[in-house]
């Protein structure tokens, strides 16, 4: 556990640096408020509508697929760290992961055929 002490110190220091850098300009820079300067950027025009508009549902889908596949990925880490040990008595570890990957691929192909990843 003692290894984590410098890690935590570094994170603390990085957070301090981040806060410091972000605040520096507010302290050192000028402050000349102006309504036009403070309006959202829209190529010099007056903003039309709101930025809190609806956006493509595709982004939401990508986030969901990411979570699904990321969980599969997490399953593979313990397997990879014990691969040699799993294969001491024949190729058990290999076949086990092969079955898992085949099931994963069936799902992946279903996803492709359904058009879940279609962007154009």
């Amino acid at each position: 556990m003692v290894e984590y002490i410098p890690l935590i110190i570094l994170i603390g220091l990085a957070l301090f640096l981040g806060l410091l850098l972000t605040n520096l300009s507010a302290l050192a820079g000028p402050l000349r408020p102006n309504r036009i300067k403070y309006s959202p950027y829209e190529s010099g025009m007056d903003p039309v509508g709101t930025a809190r508009d609806r956006f493509s549902v595709k982004f939401y889908l990508v986030a969901m697929f990411f979570i699904l596949f990321d969980i599969e990925l997490v399953f593979m880490y313990p397997w990879a760290t014990q691969y040699k040990q799993l294969n001491e008595m024949g190729p058990f570890g290999f076949i086990e992961m092969l079955v898992f990957v085949v099931i994963l691929f069936v799902g992946f192909i279903y996803l492709l055929k359904k058009g879940g990843l279609k962007w154009d």
Partner: protein, 341 residues
């Protein structure tokens, strides 16, 4: 190396300072290399050869007005650059710079790097959403979708490295970065797992939001992407974070695939009278690590000024339809080969 807190503190200080300085000079290097590629001269006014340019840039940005747009969510708008720069800096902790020279060589080093990289998505997403501007929102959405997509293949490429470490390392902690480096003694992972190296490198480009994957800030269509509404040092923070990601990406490629601090032609160098555990060897190893990292940083810059940007659908297609199956296949083929070794 036994644990001495003061040593580690000194190392933290030195490495943080080095990282930030190198990041500032990467900006300079980028401008110089880009100028070379485009047959221009590049920055040459501030100091000899323009070497003081980064300093001038920082001072200029420091003295600019800190603008928060009218409709922005003030707290989140402030938080996003803090998250970006903090997370970019923390990845440094687990890198082994030389044998037994590291800030914190925890036994889950690889997972830590991936985790820090994942949280970095929040900096981009929050900045895009909180600005309450259309360009920023689109840029933030695009780049968060891009980053999570490529994170999958990156994680899978790392798994192939863990497999190799599990096979070649004589120990038990296979996720430790120094174990991964040790396992490459003799043959570097890039020769055992070239496809994994390619996948990891491309994903590192995508994670750093660098061209050809810089959709997040595609200037011609999105102005500045997620940091459109940022000015002064807050803008500089995103810039700093991007360049630190370039450095960290290069350092990770070096550690995972190019033997980290290991010296090329080690036996020849050891034959010249360098002793095991001596200061000379340590500095040689640091030099080896930094040289490899700098080479990859150059590749990052080189690629940016050579390749055109992808379209967004191309980007997502490559990530999901090519890299994801390919990296899983790479793991299975590698696992199959390792059965017979």
């Amino acid at each position: 190396m036994e644990f001495v807190l003061t040593d580690r503190l000194i190392l933290i200080g030195i490495s943080l300072f080095t990282l930030i300085t190198v990041a500032a000079y990467t900006v300079y290097a980028e401008r110089k290399v880009c100028a070379l590629i485009q047959q221009r001269v590049g920055p040459n006014r501030v100091g000899p050869l323009g070497l003081l340019q980064p300093l001038a840039d920082v001072i200029k940005l420091l003295l600019k007005e800190d603008i928060v747009p009218q409709y922005a969510n003030r707290f989140l708008h402030f938080l996003a650059p803090v998250i970006s720069v903090t997370l970019a800096l923390t990845g440094l902790a687990v890198l082994p710079f030389a044998k037994d020279l590291h800030i914190a060589d925890v036994n889950i080093g690889v997972l830590y790097v991936l985790a820090v990289g994942s949280i970095a998505v929040y900096g981009v997403t929050i900045s895009g959403w909180s600005s309450n501007s259309k360009y920023a929102l689109l840029g933030g959405l695009r780049s968060s979708a891009q980053m999570v997509s490529y994170e999958l293949s990156m994680g899978l490429a790392v798994i192939s490295v863990v497999l190799l470490t599990n096979h070649y390392f004589e120990g038990t902690e296979y996720l430790r970065l120094s174990s991964i480096v040790d396992a490459q003694n003799g043959v570097w992972n890039v020769f055992r797992n070239p496809l994994g190296f390619l996948i990891f490198t491309v994903c590192a480009f995508a994670e750093a939001n660098r061209a050809p994957f810089d959709l997040a800030e595609a200037e011609q269509e999105l102005v500045g992407g997620f940091h459109t509404e940022y000015s002064s040092m807050k803008f500089a923070n995103f810039f700093l974070a991007e360049y630190i990601h370039v450095i960290m990406g290069s350092a990770m490629i070096t550690t995972l695939f190019f033997g980290g601090y290991l010296l090329p032609f080690e036996s020849a160098i050891m034959g010249m009278g360098v002793e095991e555990g001596s200061m000379t060897l340590m500095f040689l190893q640091i030099g080896s690590f930094l040289t490899k990292t700098f080479i990859f940083m150059f590749v990052f810059i080189w690629v940016r000024w050579t390749l055109p940007r992808f379209k967004y659908n191309q980007l997502m297609n490559i990530g999901w339809k090519w890299f994801l199956p390919l990296s899983i296949l790479n793991i299975m083929v590698l696992a199959g080969i390792l059965l017979f070794l």
